[in-house]
């Protein structure tokens, strides 16, 4: 697939508590923004297939969605559309499947769109749905019956990071400080305010050792990308962004089957495969949008995808290496910490950011480009056993 597929347009809406917007409204706005982002223009009928990222379906009250929902919303019912769900990586994997559609030779131009409404239910219910997924009622292990929830799963990792790696709650809080700061420069972020270490550590304990500001918010949102055959890209845009590598990594779906809780092998495998496909190394990357659903998770991700050795991410963060103007900016958009995590929209929102940065259109949050390569990463699912890693570049 390397170099065969190009992104010609991206679009998203401001993430937040969008009580005034239905799923359909969010989808249509992200889609129209995406079409308008194709700078030389595109006839919507040129889109010959689409993938619809939609994680929660009926869990938190948006009704079961299938491919037809997207086809109907965008008024294009003459193309194949497939709904895709793959845990928290749903958005990034929806993008990957659109790329596979083009790389297969079957389609020239396709759409990837993800949308999620998380806020129509109160936080506890929404979090419960997000954390337990479909497993809560159907498992045969009592732990499933008791529910887990995203914060508990990551807190179990965080405790172990503290024990094995010597990380502290201050180390975790520094991730929130950095990402909230970056988010103040992003007009699409749900949260646009600074936090301090003291404010993070003084916020409610959601699940010790994680505080409220260690957790990303529950948020509504939608985001999209149009990808096409690389050799056709210049017809649509002067600034195509090419897909160098794309991969999904998987691991156990139960925490107790996993060996280490300071490493998520799904991320390790996703990144390793994508780097191999791209033929580049982690040191060739200019910046990354990594899945910071919780602050401790960002530190784990930085290590797992190859940007730091295990146990070194906290020190490198403290030294400013991952700041917007540091050696390797991580989450210049503000990440999930600022944007929230409308699950299927999250990965495509990150793709939006990576493409915008690579086109040097990120305004006040623009990072310095050296090789012109950025990455997008999600990790999640039960026990965080699924991860997606996409590598994008401004040159083919």
């Amino acid at each position: 697939m390397r170099g065969k597929v190009a992104v010609i347009g991206v679009g998203m809406i401001k993430f937040g508590e969008l009580f005034d917007k239905s799923l359909e409204t969010m989808v249509q706005e992200a889609y129209l923004n995406c079409l308008n982002n194709v700078d030389k223009g595109i006839d919507p009928k040129e889109i010959k297939a689409a993938w619809f990222g939609q994680w929660s379906g009926g869990f938190i009250g948006q009704g079961a969605q299938s491919g037809q929902s997207l086809a109907s919303f965008i008024g294009n019912r003459d193309i194949p559309v497939t709904r895709l769900e793959n845990g928290c990586p749903t958005g990034g994997d929806t993008f990957r499947h659109a790329c596979l559609g083009v790389a297969s030779g079957l389609y020239d131009v396709v759409l990837a769109l993800g949308a999620e409404k998380m806020r129509d239910k109160p936080s506890a219910e929404s979090l419960g749905g997000a954390g337990s997924g479909g497993g809560a009622e159907t498992g045969s292990h009592p732990a499933w019956m008791m529910g887990q929830g995203g914060p508990a799963i990551q807190a179990l990792h965080a405790t172990r990071q503290m024990y094995e790696l010597g990380y502290t709650m201050e180390d975790f809080a520094r991730v929130a400080v950095k990402n909230h700061h970056n988010g103040t420069f992003c007009p699409y972020a749900h949260y646009q305010f600074e936090v301090t270490i003291e404010r993070v550590l003084g916020s409610y304990v959601v699940c010790w050792p994680l505080h409220l500001f260690d957790c990303c918010p529950q948020t509504d949102g939608a985001a999209a990308a149009i990808v096409c055959r690389a050799d056709l890209a210049k017809k649509y845009t002067d600034k195509p962004v090419y897909v160098l590598g794309s991969n999904v990594g998987t691991d156990h779906s139960q925490l107790w089957d996993r060996n280490s809780l300071v490493e998520q092998l799904s991320s390790v495998k996703a990144a390793r495969g994508a780097f191999e496909m791209a033929g580049i190394k982690p040191k060739d990357v200019d910046f990354g949008e990594l899945h910071d659903c919780f602050t401790n998770t960002e530190l784990m991700n930085i290590e797992d995808v190859g940007f730091a050795r295990k146990g070194e991410a906290a020190r490198m963060l403290k030294d400013g290496e991952f700041d917007m103007h540091g050696r390797l900016p991580i989450n210049p958009s503000g990440g999930l910490k600022s944007h929230g995590h409308p699950i299927a929209a999250t990965g495509l929102g990150q793709i939006f950011e990576v493409v915008t940065q690579l086109r040097e259109e990120a305004d006040k949050r623009q990072v310095k480009l050296k090789k012109g390569i950025g990455v997008q990463h999600n990790v999640g699912g039960p026990a965080f056993g699924v991860s997606v890693f996409n590598i994008l570049s401004r040159s083919q």
């Binding site: 045969s140 009592p142 008791m146 529910g147 965080a158 024990y163």
Partner: protein, 134 residues
């Protein structure tokens, strides 16, 4: 008041998994998994045998959940325990004076307790309590 259901499907699956703690051990890679499964989660082998888990072990990791799922009074203390038999078991602590009593490497043992309710019926299973150090 929820009208109790005539039966709970999970009861059928819970016996013998939950009460007798029967998991599997892989004869090819040694992975111990719980509950029972037909294919080794670690290596895909079908060469498995039933394996009884120990009730004692040490805390591998824990957290203190102040925002638990519905039906639970906060705080609850989820733990993942390295069992003396090998294998890991995820569960909840019980009978702790304060959550701060639990640490990584604390010695714990399983005790039968009510876990939750399924459509009005009580569901029982094991929780962990701290074992007095000698």
């Amino acid at each position: 008041m929820t009208q109790p259901a005539p039966a709970s499907p999970v009861y059928w699956r819970f016996n013998p998994e939950v009460f007798r703690l029967i998991g599997i051990k892989c004869n090819d890679c040694g992975h111990i998994s719980y509950p029972r499964t037909k294919i080794c989660h670690e290596c895909g082998s079908l060469n498995l045998e039933e394996y009884k888990l120990a009730k004692k072990g040490t805390v591998h990791t824990y957290c203190v959940n102040w925002a638990p799922p519905p039906n639970f009074e906060p705080p609850i203390t989820p733990v993942i325990v390295d069992l003396e038999s090998g294998g890991r078991y995820q569960g909840l602590m019980t009978e702790t004076a304060t959550p701060e009593d639990v640490k990584v490497n604390s010695k714990v043992e399983m005790v039968l307790r009510k876990l939750t309710t399924d459509r009005g019926l009580n569901v029982y299973g094991y929780k962990f309590r701290l074992v007095e150090e000698d």
